[in-house]
Point group: C2
Chain length 131, copies 2
DNA sequence: TTCCTTGCAAATCGTTTGCATAATG
DNA sequence: CATTATGCAAACGATTTGCAAGGAA
C-alpha cells in the first residue's frame, strides 16, 4: 500500500518532532487540533500507527496503560516516573553490547530492544523532601 | 489494607508458578476455572493486580496490547516473538551493571528496570525456512 | 463482628474500524 | 481515474469497578 501525502500526517509528525516528552495520542490530538481544528482522533491514531509501522516514530509502552510516541528513533532507553507519570530519555552506552549478548544467547533473530527504568524523578523527589 | 487469605488467590498464584510462558489474565482465568469453575474473571484481574502491587509477581507489557504475568520476580529480560506472540525468558548478566549506570546518569531514584527484546523466535524462523 | 474478598454485570477507556466523502498522484 | 486518507461514530477488547452476598480473622 503506497503512502500518499496528507497534511494531517505531516502536522502530527511535525508536532512529535518538537516534543521530547513522549506524548500520548490524545496529547497529540489536542495539540494538532489547535492548528487544525477539524482533525479527528481516529486520524491521529491511524497516522501514529502508520508512522510507527514504517519505523519513522517509536511506540512506547511504559506501563501506565497508554501508548506514548517518540520521534527520536535512535537507540536509547526511557525512564518512567511512577509518581508524576513523566517519560524521559536516557542514554546508555551499553545498548549495542547488550543486543549482541542477547543475540548470542538466542536461537531466534533479535531485531530490536526496549528498556525502561522505573522510579521517582528528580522533581518528585524534591517535592517529597519539602514536606 | 490487610490481606486475607483466599482460595482463589492461592490458586491463581499456584498456577502462575507452574508456568514459564507468561500467561495473560484470560489464560490464568481459563486454567484456574478448570479446577474452580465458579471463579470470575474480575477476581482473576483483582488478584493479579494485588499480587503485582505487592511485588509477588511481575506484570509485563510486551506490546501486544495484553498484560502478561510472571511468577519469577528475579532480575531477567524477556523476548517477544512478533510472529507467534510467545514471551520467553532471557538471562543477561549485565542487568545489575546497567541499573548502576542508569542510576549514575539519573538525578532521580531508579527502582527497577524492564527490558524486552523483539524479533522472531527459533520455531518461527524454522517454519519460514520450510517454505 | 469487622473487614476483606467474591461473583456478577455494567462501566470505563484507550484504540480500532466501517463507511461515505475528500484529497492525492 | 484509481487509490489512499479523512471525519465521524460506532464497535472493540482488555481491564476496572459498584454492589450485595460470602468468607476469613
Amino acid at each position: 500500500m503506497a503512502v500518499k501525502y496528507s497534511r494531517q500526517r505531516q502536522m502530527i509528525y511535525n508536532f512529535l518532532m518538537t516534543r521530547k516528552d513522549h506524548p500520548t495520542a490524545d496529547v497529540v490530538y489536542r495539540n494538532v487540533r489547535q492548528e487544525y481544528p477539524n482533525i479527528s482522533l481516529g486520524t491521529v491514531y491511524r497516522n501514529l500507527t502508520l508512522l510507527a509501522d514504517r519505523g519513522e516514530i517509536l511506540r512506547l509502552q511504559v506501563g501506565d496503560g497508554v501508548d506514548h510516541f517518540d520521534a527520536d528513533t535512535s537507540k536509547h532507553c526511557h525512564f518512567f516516573c511512577s509518581s508524576c507519570g513523566a517519560v524521559t530519555d536516557m542514554q546508555l552506552d551499553c545498548l549495542e553490547e547488550m543486543l549482541a549478548k542477547a543475540q548470542q544467547k538466542s536461537q531466534g533473530r533479535i531485531e530490536s530492544q526496549s528498556t525502561c527504568f522505573y522510579g521517582t524523578c528528580e522533581k518528585c523527589l524534591d517535592k517529597s523532601m519539602e514536606k
